[in-house]
Amino acid sequence: MSSSSTLPANPLTRPLAARPGAVTLFAQCLVDTFYPEVAEAVVTIFARLGMAVDCPPEQTCCGQPAFNAGYRRQARAAARHFIEVFENAGDIVCPSGSCVHMVRHGYAELFADDPGWLARSRRVAERTFELTEYLVDVLGVTDLGARCEATLTYHDSCHLLRGLGIERQPRALIGAVRGAHLVEMEDADRCCGFGGTFAVHYPEISTAMTAEKVDHIVASGAEAVVGCDVSCLMNIEGVIRRRRLNIRAIHIARLLAAGCREDLWHA
């Protein structure tokens, strides 16, 4: 099922001719550190669209972990670095909803009393997009030619869903993957219990929440849970693996780059 025709017209959508020849990738620190294959998948996706991926070598972290934990001075230091690295880029694409939320909304709070940096952060924020949002809303594509024979369920990450309003885009993309069957789990929009330092400081509460999420994934009958944020996926997979369940946690970029099921199941 390709849902591109059913999607409402988006004012952001650019006609094919106006597509930039390249995007700039903010890999995101967790992807870069723990899941480099997710960033590789992003490169593959854009290559299929005939677009190059620029990857500023000085990039590190957007500052979100410190910001969410309350350490604003430290978060500002990381945010300033991010702005310096990306302020001359074109469209910036990131395979993480919560980091895009940080750049778009967190920076405004962080630099509220600093007009200079606030203006600079705004200019970067305007050009920063979450991956699925960029593909569907800006480029107007849902079918990326991917194939994966599997029953999948989708987890809505909190900042992605409630912060950026991204809900239909990933589902449309998954729906267009050949062979993929998307089943909705109960409470797909409920938090998985990650919450950054919360997961470390309040492990009992955090994993009670994750356990509920995993139960819903199991009940959906899916073989894998797909998401747009590796932070949630890392958390969900952590419990899945501890419980020795035979379910995968897959970042959407890898699904969209897949040529067949084995690309994801045996990689």
């Binding site: 890999a27 870069d32 723990f34 899941y35 480099p36 960033a39 590789e40 990857c55 070598p57 000085e58 990039q59 590190t60 972290c61 410190a66 910001f67 969410n68 934990a69 309350g70 350490y71 604003r72 001075r73 430290q74 978060a75 230091a77 990381a78 670095h81 709070e109 909190c158 900042h159 409630r162 912060g163 929009d189 409920r190 938090c191 219990g193 990650f194 919450g195 950054g196 330092t197 919360f198 997961a199 470390v200 400081h201 309040y202 492990p203 009992e204 509460i205 955090s206 994993t207 009670a208 929440m209 994750t210 509920e212 890392m234 958390n235 997979e237 952590g238 419990v239 693996r241 501890r242």
Partner: protein, 476 residues
């Protein structure tokens, strides 16, 4: 039961998570109300956008609080009522006790009121030899059991039918049953006697109206109406923020309050009270007192960052969707107010350092804001509270809560400032993780301060090469 204390957040939460009965009850409550409330907003004639209009109504009311309150006080006084502004819990309680003493009160019936929980009215009444009787069924159950409410609107949500049946058998001397209608009837009989014998009625206020000089009280059991009309003296307690300017504002706010609280279009009973019975009126108390409680609210009002929490109309919609509340229930929050709203209000009213766990013990998932009938941005305020805990704050008497963690984040910021340092940190992590136990490629145990993660979760190791390192290699 332990005394409520937000410093015991983690322990109390752990107990709650380990209690299967409570887990079932919480899941039930949230399951029932989450979608129903969202649908109730959708079904509003004005659409869910009414929440933003309500937000603006509340913003304007809180911005003009002083004028609105004096208008209200003037109207109530004109109508023969008496108004007292209590600076803190002590003043509010003492004033109520004075009234009770003047009238020789022995028995007081109470309508559900969180502000009286907040100021600790019941224990004070009991200590003064006055029997306070809660008349809301849920509150009555909790009171009989010697407990505290664990939810703002559904105070006995943590108790099962069976537990209530056993409690009633013990306390009301009826034969054991877990049939809800029979139990309700037993409570009604017991309460009826109290209503008729009471010398004083005590209630909260859902929302006052400055323009008309009334206070609206809502219930589904009719008990508040009886508490406020049968006894000869009525004392109403009101948090000083619970006021709207005009009656048309009430139309919007009360419809939203009922939807947020219980997905109802309107509560079963809505009363507007403006003073004591007029000469010749057969209903209503001879004396009416309104106690307007500050108890830390002025301080919140003065801070632009937190003023928004005063827009709250205590509907509990945020509790009903919060994934953390759904696991831990109301007690860990350690105060009258629980869930997301409690996580903001309690630190501000009882001390930010003391309630540090409340500021930090959430995931910032944003479900509360989406459910809030007046669109209060709770995650923003949680972040602001965390910022105060991280750096300290003179105005709010906050000392830095985690100096060691602050140093770690200093180091983290230094690393994030240069890719070279970031790469070096990755190399160091790769060396260190060799020492850690693995299973199927994942790490089984992390050292402190990250050990919490692996208590019940595995962790992926740092990849042999980061994405940027791979790219760099390839580029060469």
């Amino acid at each position: 039961m332990h005394k409520l204390d937000p410093r015991r957040y983690r322990q109390t939460a752990r107990t709650a998570i380990g209690d299967p009965v409570l887990q079932g009850a919480l899941a039930n409550l949230q399951h029932r109300l989450k979608t129903a409330t969202a649908e109730a907003y959708q079904a509003l004639a004005e659409g869910p956008g009414l929440r933003q209009i309500a937000h603006d109504i509340r913003r304007r009311a809180i911005g003009n609080l002083d004028t609105l309150l004096s208008e209200l006080a003037e109207r109530i006084t004109q109508n023969g009522g008496r108004v007292f502004f209590a600076a803190d819990a002590d003043e509010a309680v003492t004033h109520c006790l004075d009234i009770a003493r003047r009238h020789g009160v022995k028995l007081a019936v109470k309508g559900k009121s969180m502000v009286t929980e907040e100021i600790g009215l019941n224990p004070a009444l009991a200590a003064a030899g006055i029997e306070p009787v809660e008349t809301d069924l849920g509150e009555y159950i909790v009171q009989l059991a010697g407990e505290r409410p664990s939810h703002i609107i559904a105070p006995a949500v943590h108790k099962t039918r069976r537990q209530i049946g056993e409690l009633f058998a013990r306390k009301l001397g009826i034969a054991f049953t877990d049939d809800p209608p029979t139990l309700t009837l037993a409570a009604r009989r017991a309460l009826r006697e109290k209503f008729l014998a009471a010398d004083m009625g005590i209630s909260g206020v859902n929302l006052a109206c400055a323009e008309t000089g009334h206070m609206a009280v809502l219930s589904n059991e009719g008990n508040i109406r009886m508490s406020t009309t049968l006894p000869r003296v009525h004392v109403a307690f009101m948090g000083m923020e619970r006021i709207a300017h005009r009656l048309v504002d009430h139309d919007i706010l009360i419809r939203l309050l009922c939807r947020g609280a219980s997905a109802q279009k309107m509560a079963g009973y809505v009363s507007y009270i403006g003073g004591p019975a007029r000469p010749g009126q057969s209903d209503g108390p001879q004396e009416f007192h309104l106690i307007i409680v500050d108890n830390g609210r002025s301080r919140i009002l003065a801070d632009q960052t937190f003023r928004e929490i005063l827009y709250c109309i205590r509907c509990a919609a945020c509790l009903n969707v919060c994934p953390v509340y759904g696991k831990i229930g109301g007690y860990p929050y350690g105060f009258a107010y629980s869930g997301p709203v409690g996580a903001v209000v309690t630190p501000l009213m009882t001390g930010i350092n003391r309630a540090a766990d409340l500021c930090q013990g959430e995931t910032l998932c944003g479900a509360c804001r989406q459910a809030c009938p007046v669109d209060i941005d709770i995650p923003r305020m949680l972040l602001a509270l965390r910022a105060k805990l991280a750096a300290g704050d003179r105005d709010w008497d906050v000392v830095p809560a985690h100096p060691a963690e602050a140093r770690l984040f200093d180091f983290w910021a230094w690393i994030m400032g240069r890719r070279r340092r970031y790469d070096a940190a990755l190399s160091a992590a790769r060396l260190l993780q060799r020492l850690l136990p693995r299973e199927n490629g994942l790490l089984r145990r992390l050292p402190p301060p990250l050990s919490g993660w692996t208590e019940s979760r595995d962790m992926p190791p740092v990849a042999p090469q980061s994405f940027l390192q791979r790219k760099r290699k390839r580029g060469k």
